[in-house]
Symmetry: C2
Subunit: 434 residues, 2 copies
């Protein structure tokens, strides 16, 4: 966030009532370990993609209670005087380890480990989960779309289908996952993501004729632009487009109808007009399956909206943030449902000598446990993100993490990249802890 605004009230009420109770009986200062993980991947997905970790760190840094926040809490009687005084001085001073953005994750992967006092770590729960659940949901869906696009350009254009701020985060997550760019201008300003766009049907309708619209657009944006040819009749639209812009026209866009059939017809028409270099961009209710189905068609680029920003059927990643250790002692809920494994955890991803991932070994890090010995092709997945409340220096950036995902996907067993529903690409293994 470039907005320096406080993130402190992106928080559930009960985090602060727990804080008030724990301050009162002294348990607030107990050293704790909280862990974010997901119990399952959505809808038969084969892998998850970590999104939002960088935004999590910013949110932790900006988790400060200013006067407006404190006044609101006081007015709503959310905390007593002692609690409000504690919040006034709040800043996170603990340690955070986590999976970097662009990393794959699986059920039970210890995505984020927060170490600190109960008080300082519990209050971060809501905003950490909001970010991880949203951004990872989008990154996971986006990665499948990028795989389906198979190297063709793919643009994120779903801003209008989701909350205005989610849209910016979604554009970022899509870019992380390999999208070429976004329509969202704020994502360009905030994160330096390439933005792109040319015109909508309204621009054609505004003009007296399609021809005059195309003339205005090529006049302003050059003949390398993309003309939207499906406002009236597509065949006429393409003919007019080439007539106006010449055979050097950058691209035509088709936004409706059976885009596979229409793309083939458009390619034939463009070629027959001599516009063999004019690309064909399709959009309109595409998801990963529709993109995959167009693989054999002469499509040069995809614009993806609704399905991207809604996580293509899985709008949230199902992550939870659980207390797993108190003063070095593993703790876990023990009732009949939603059980968790107690104790802090690390993760070692094991690979064959070919580089193909074999399993996610999730091992205990609580006192008395030694980490496993990595083989020559194995690697520990979490990295240090914060120490003593300070962000670790030289953390990988968005472009690094974009590369990371590309490499990680190469390591997945081939069945793991299938779009169809199935088991996770690699199993998560929890060694028996004696």
């Amino acid at each position: 966030m470039t907005d320096p605004g406080s993130t402190a009230l992106f928080t559930d009420h009960y985090e602060l009532t727990m804080l008030a109770s724990a301050l009162r009986d002294g348990t607030a200062e107990r050293e704790c370990v909280f862990e974010a993980f997901t119990r399952r991947l959505p809808d038969g997905r084969r892998y998850g993609v970590v999104g939002g970790m960088e935004r999590v760190l910013e949110a932790v840094e900006n988790f400060r209670f200013g006067e407006a926040e404190l006044r609101s809490l006081s007015r709503e009687q959310v905390g007593d005087e002692e609690t409000l005084a504690w919040l006034r001085d709040y800043r996170f001073r603990g340690d955070i380890d986590g999976y970097p953005e662009g990393e794959l994750f699986f059920p039970g992967s210890p995505l984020l480990t927060v170490r600190g006092t109960f008080a300082e770590a519990v209050v971060l729960e809501t905003v950490i989960l909001s970010i991880l659940n949203h951004d990872s949901a989008i990154a996971g869906a986006a990665s499948r779309m990028v795989s389906a696009a198979n190297g063709r350009r793919i643009i994120e254009m779903g801003s209008r289908r989701t909350h205005e701020e989610s849209a910016v985060a979604a554009a970022r997550a899509a870019y992380l996952a390999g999208f070429t760019g976004t329509s969202n201008l704020q994502a360009g300003l905030r994160y330096g993501i390439p933005t792109t766009g040319t015109s909508a049907h309204s621009f054609t309708l505004l003009h007296d004729t399609e021809r005059s619209a195309f003339e205005a657009q090529t006049e302003a944006l050059g003949t390398g632009t993309t003309l939207l040819v499906d406002t009236y009749d597509i065949t006429t639209g393409i003919e007019t487009a080439i007539d106006v812009a010449g055979t050097g026209l950058g691209a035509v866009r088709i936004d409706s109808g059976d885009v596979g059939v229409l793309a083939r017809q458009a390619r034939e028409q463009l070629d027959s007009l001599g516009a063999t270099g004019t690309r064909i961009v399709v959009s309109g209710d595409l998801d990963e399956y529709a993109i995959a189905a167009l693989r054999a068609e002469p499509v040069d680029g995809y614009g993806v909206g609704t399905s991207l920003v809604t996580g293509s059927g899985a709008p949230t990643a199902g992550m939870v943030y659980k207390l797993v250790e108190v003063e070095g002692r593993p703790v876990a809920k023990r009732s009949s449902h939603k059980e968790s494994r107690g104790g802090g955890k690390g993760a070692l991803r094991r690979h064959k000598s070919t580089g193909t991932a074999l399993e996610e070994l999730v091992y205990p890090t609580s006192p008395g446990h030694a980490p496993p010995q990595p083989g020559p092709h194995d690697r520990f997945v979490p990295i240090p993100l914060m120490r003593g409340g300070q962000r670790v220096e030289d953390l990988p950036g968005l472009e690094d993490n974009r590369q990371r995902l590309r490499h990680a996907l190469v390591s997945v067993p081939w069945e793991g990249l299938k779009l169809s529903a199935g088991e996770p690409a690699i199993p998560t293994v929890f060694p028996d802890v004696s």
Copy 2:
């Protein structure tokens, strides 16, 4: 938004390239009418609920390009000098009419009508749709949950499952739709929505025993609080809860398992302990169907998370923003798919003398058309929201609009309130325009 930040870059790139092209050929100043509507309701829903209209007006007012925004556009070469100069002076000066929040809508209902020059109206498209699509999706789902809860308390607690800013808007939309309150503290600060919460499993796990956790909580929050009794064994948890807090304990919460069965057992146990006034609150993956299924169980309140903030299967409302009139002349896309009806429109909701809604009459308002004559029980749905870029005075507020929805639902034919999939509760009728 209390944040005075600019909304100007919550905008698709192509809005500004269209602007640049239209400024160049002079069409930018043509008087236009844009209309927001949805072609269909999601998933067999019977009605939609307008959410976000108030946020739309704020976004329009805050749609200003500051130096940071202009620098970003210049750097990315989104617009030429003329375009940037025009944006520097931008403010919306046109008129807006729309369905107030809490109003029902149906396929084709003219939810929002923006009148102004092409230039000033087209640039608002993205942010208007982001807000309406998100907030109406949540309000629509929330309304069904409130109906299913049938008068019992229902609390929104899904912040952690969605983007941190969406969470605030979702809490607002849920409250609009009749939720009792929210866990989201920012929604309390920003919109004055009642916030609520007590404790999570982590609070019990932090303590050496469940008893000491309950003691700490009742000490800090009083015996009117809600104790979470399912961290270990529910029967023991309830026994301990009453032992600690006495029979005046406010409530117990059950967050996992077969909550219907557990609620019945809990009620029996509480009654046998003499805690006949202690309420039972259930949470954990509830949606409108689960809530309805609990109607016969001794449940006093519901906490709803994931399904609320994700629109219970319909995370976006499918609204579009279409140019329908240019200089008084109706315009519409004419290719084979996604057709629209040209021309500005009004809506008259017709009712029987009993007050039951009959149909949504969507009639043309473009030059040469007279509005229909309302019968004694009919009413025009859209209201003026902005005139000359200024918000109309004394617009209804959140509490008014909460009442509005309650009244509107009473007017729906009874089949229209069923949770099962089906046709819209009333048909939308477009008179033949000769």
